[in-house]
């Protein structure tokens, strides 16, 4: 506070000094400790499957995750969600074990299996007591190499998805995602977030099985083990279990090409008490040289609790509870957006403030003090992100997915601190032109529409 005032004018400084003289300043604390991302090693099996081992921490547990490059990216347009159904089917038992037996066995190792598919990857795994890591890997192998894919299980899971689909029609989040992804990704597989009810009803177990067989295999799979475990026993178990897995297809790449132009959609939700706003534009992806600086800019603008947009529309105006900005990253694409659920009557006012903050940062270079605070925050978050068993897997998985080297992790903190105030404003000017923004609103159309006049968003 002091420093910033000092840099403005002497008059303000004198006033501030008398005002703040009685206030106690926080103690600065000690000297920072060294932080290094845990050392890890990666081995590749003959069939192309990769294994990364990350010894971490002292709690006698191991986190085991297999990440398979299979997701909605690999779906046919008439089989949306089949990747999710296929992932769920993997928890329904193997040729030799029922789902119940698999669940009980995993529980006896101190954990529970999960499986979930996303846009580009499907993950399976469990957290288990250290001594059971090799046994869990063996079970994981059985699950992946000989899943049962029974019709009865498939129909039950499909029933769940039909319920989910029906429920999602009423949720502002799902309604916004559906429209946003359509606007951002168009005809690319990322652009369709839901099947139609009719299409989903027609899905069969054979479709899921075929999807699984075409998309799962050694070349697309990477197993990660982090925590406390016996390295030799784990490697041995992986080789024994997965060594015989078919190579399968190569990783399929189909980067989305995002069109940077003004887009607008207002999804009518009559009687809605709030408007859900998503407002953004295509930007850099994690392989860009200025990506880290961009993330610093994002953190200052809207990505952290103390950020400018949050301070404005939450802490000053009280328009919303949980606003925030971020970058939706896919392979070789990025989309920056600010998202907020605001009281319906202030939809236009909130958008105006968001635009104001974007313009202000583009046109006025932030102070060293404000930027230094954000740099420290992001450097601290980097430590936190890498300070748990799943966290380190997430970090290493991130660089592997985007095809980045270890250098990304090693130089991350340095790049944070190298970012200059003028660069932050330049990044806003370069990447966040308001006349090329996409705006999606889910709200009561008759209330919201008149509020958008003069904002230049339509």
């Amino acid at each position: 506070m002091f420093k910033r005032i000092l840099s403005v004018t002497l008059t303000v400084f004198v006033l501030a000094a008398s005002l703040y003289a009685q206030k106690e300043q926080p103690p600065v604390g000690g000297t920072p400790k060294d932080f290094k991302v845990p050392a890890y090693k990666t081995v590749t099996l003959k069939n192309g499957m990769k294994l990364t081992l990350i010894p971490y921490g002292t709690t006698p547990k191991a986190t085991i995750r297999i990440i398979v490059r299979s997701g909605s990216l690999n779906e046919q347009p008439d089989q949306v969600w089949i990747s999710d159904l296929a992932a769920d089917m993997l928890l329904e038992g193997t040729k030799n074990k029922s789902a119940q037996e698999v669940a009980e066995e995993t529980a006896s190792y101190g954990g529970g299996f999960f499986a979930s598919a996303a846009t580009d990857q499907t993950q399976l795994g469990a957290d288990v007591l250290s001594e059971f890591a090799p046994a869990l890997i063996k079970l994981l192998g059985e699950v992946l190499l000989s899943p049962s894919f029974n019709e009865k299980d498939f129909e039950r899971i499909k029933g769940n998805y039909l319920t989910n689909l029906s429920v999602s029609q009423t949720s502002p989040d799902a309604m916004a995602d559906k429209e946003l992804y359509k606007q951002v990704y168009g005809n690319h597989p990322y652009g369709i977030t839901e099947p139609t009810m009719e299409a989903l009803k027609g899905y069969t177990v054979d479709m899921a099985k075929k999807f699984f067989e075409s998309n799962f295999g050694a070349k697309r799979s990477h197993l990660y083990v982090s925590g406390v475990f016996d390295e030799k026993a784990v490697i041995k178990s992986v080789e024994e279990v997965f060594g015989s897995w078919k190579e399968g297809a190569d990783v399929y790449l189909n980067p989305a090409k995002l069109d940077k132009s003004k887009k607008f959609a207002l999804v009518d939700r009559p009687g809605s008490k709030q408007s859900k706003i998503v407002y953004g534009t295509p930007v850099v992806d994690p392989t860009a040289p200025d990506y880290v600086s961009f993330m610093i800019m994002n953190s200052l603008l809207g990505g952290s609790f103390g950020s400018r947009i949050t301070s404005n529309i939450r802490e000053n105006k009280g328009y919303t509870y949980s606003p925030g900005s971020g970058v939706m990253t896919r392979y070789r694409s990025g989309f920056w957006y600010e998202e907020a659920d605001v009281t319906s009557s202030v939809t236009g006012a909130a958008l105006k403030e968001i635009q104001f903050e974007i313009n202000r940062l583009a046109n006025e270079v932030p102070s060293d003090e404000e930027l230094d605070g954000i740099k420290n925050y992001e450097a601290g978050i980097f430590v936190l992100r890498n300070s748990s068993r799943p966290g380190v897997i997430g970090q290493i998985g991130f660089i592997n997915f985007h095809g980045l080297s270890d250098e990304y992790i090693k130089t991350y903190v340095k790049k944070i601190y190298d970012t200059k105030p003028a660069e932050v404003s330049a990044l806003v000017k370069k990447y966040l032109p308001l006349d090329k923004f996409t705006l999606v609103i889910v709200g009561d159309k008759k209330d919201v529409e008149p509020q958008l006049e003069g904002l230049g968003v339509k």
């Binding site: 206030k23 604390g29 669940a103 429920v167 406390v228 659920d341 605070g373 601290g380």
Partner: protein
């Protein structure tokens, strides 16, 4: 379950003499002269520390004409204290590389920050500063009334199944107002809150003798003790408030409540059971029952409802709340918790089929 136990025992036998060290959780409990309870727990895995303060006041015993006030007050703790103005607490934590948050529960409200370990003193100073006193303006109160109103909208009023069943079930199951009111707050009560209410609530409940301070992570205990004494030791103790009667009449019969949610397009069902008093052996037994009956794909309920009977979409949310905090503040823990599961019914499955199946599950075990 039997089978699982057998498997487990077998492996326990096999791994006797395991090379892996046993889990040891380091901890030390003590109390300052002003009554503040302190818990230190060292773990040097990563160079971070967590500082958390728990105040023994939750939404259960908030003032009767101010539903939602305990939670609104939680927001006030970020709005300015003696030495830190609005946003300055948040910026202090962030600009030192940390994260922070708070939450309001049945019987306590907690605040925590996770920061790089060398910033321990900074955060202890800041937590002590807001325990010493708040400096809230009408403008800040009005602003947070707006924020909380939007929080209620985004989490409850504007969502299908909003607040279901965590807000609805206690209201339906309990008789005593303290256990049965709207904990998030009626919007008119939130609007009615005044600065005088804020001051009164702080002086009654936000006193060191009604709080517990927890420090975990990478730090030296002697340093922590010195800082804690320096910053928290000088805060005067306050007068402890009498605990209102929160007892609940014994429930003898099944209760069924129907709520119409115009945003939801599928029916959802939640079941709850009254819990034994916190800290009793029966309370911990319920923790085990929760695991056996509800949690995970190896649970009885999942097997009976989902796999065998083809009734689907079971979300279990066993509520065994606040175990750790109750262990350190046992003199003031209240029972009557609710234990529940919820399900969104698929089409063509009837309530009767589900309830029959639930009853069968109970009979069989």
């Amino acid at each position: 379950m039997n089978r699982a136990i057998k498997i487990l025992m077998l492996f326990v036998f096999v791994v006797t003499g395991s090379v892996f060290a046993q889990l040891k959780v380091d901890y030390e409990y003590y109390k300052l002269d002003n009554g503040l309870k302190v818990v230190l727990s060292q773990n040097k895995t990563a160079p971070v520390v967590t500082v958390a303060v728990y105040y023994n006041i939750g939404f259960r015993i908030e003032p009767k004409d101010r539903t939602g006030f305990a939670h609104l007050f939680e927001h006030m703790m970020f709005q300015g204290s003696k030495n830190l103005g609005k946003m300055e607490f948040i910026k202090l934590v962030q600009s030192n590389g940390g994260i922070l948050n708070g939450s309001t529960r049945f019987d306590f409200t907690n605040y925590f920050a996770v920061v790089p370990s060398h910033k321990l003193e900074t955060i202890l100073w800041a937590e002590a500063d807001r325990m010493t006193g708040l400096d809230i303006t009408q403008e800040n109160l009005t602003n947070q009334q707006g924020v909380v109103t939007n929080e209620v909208k985004v989490n409850v009023l504007n969502q299908p199944y909003g607040g279901f069943p965590w807000l609805d079930l206690p209201q339906a199951a309990n008789e005593n107002w303290y256990n049965a009111h709207n904990f998030y707050g009626d919007l008119k009560d939130l609007d009615a809150a005044t600065l005088a209410d804020v001051k009164d609530f702080f002086s009654k409940y936000y006193i060191p003798n009604n709080a517990a301070l927890v420090v975990t992570g990478d730090f030296e205990k002697e340093d922590a003790k010195t800082f804690i004494k320096k910053y928290f030791g000088k805060i005067p103790a306050g007068k402890m408030q009498p605990v209102p009667d929160i007892s609940e009449p014994r429930q003898e019969k099944e209760k069924i409540t129907v709520k119409v949610d115009s945003l939801a397009n599928k029916p959802a069902i939640a079941f709850g059971y009254k819990m034994p008093a916190v800290g009793t052996p029966e309370y911990f037994a319920m923790g085990v029952i929760d695991q056996v009956a509800l949690q995970g794909q190896d649970s009885k309920l999942y097997r009976n409802l989902s796999l065998k009977k083809d009734i689907i979409q079971v979300f279990t949310e066993g509520s065994i709340p606040d175990l750790a905090i109750c262990l350190i503040t046992t003199d003031q823990c209240y029972g009557i918790f609710i234990f529940f599961m919820k399900t969104i019914l698929p089409p063509k499955r009837s309530w009767h089929r589900l309830t029959k199946c639930l009853k069968d599950s109970q009979k069989n075990h």
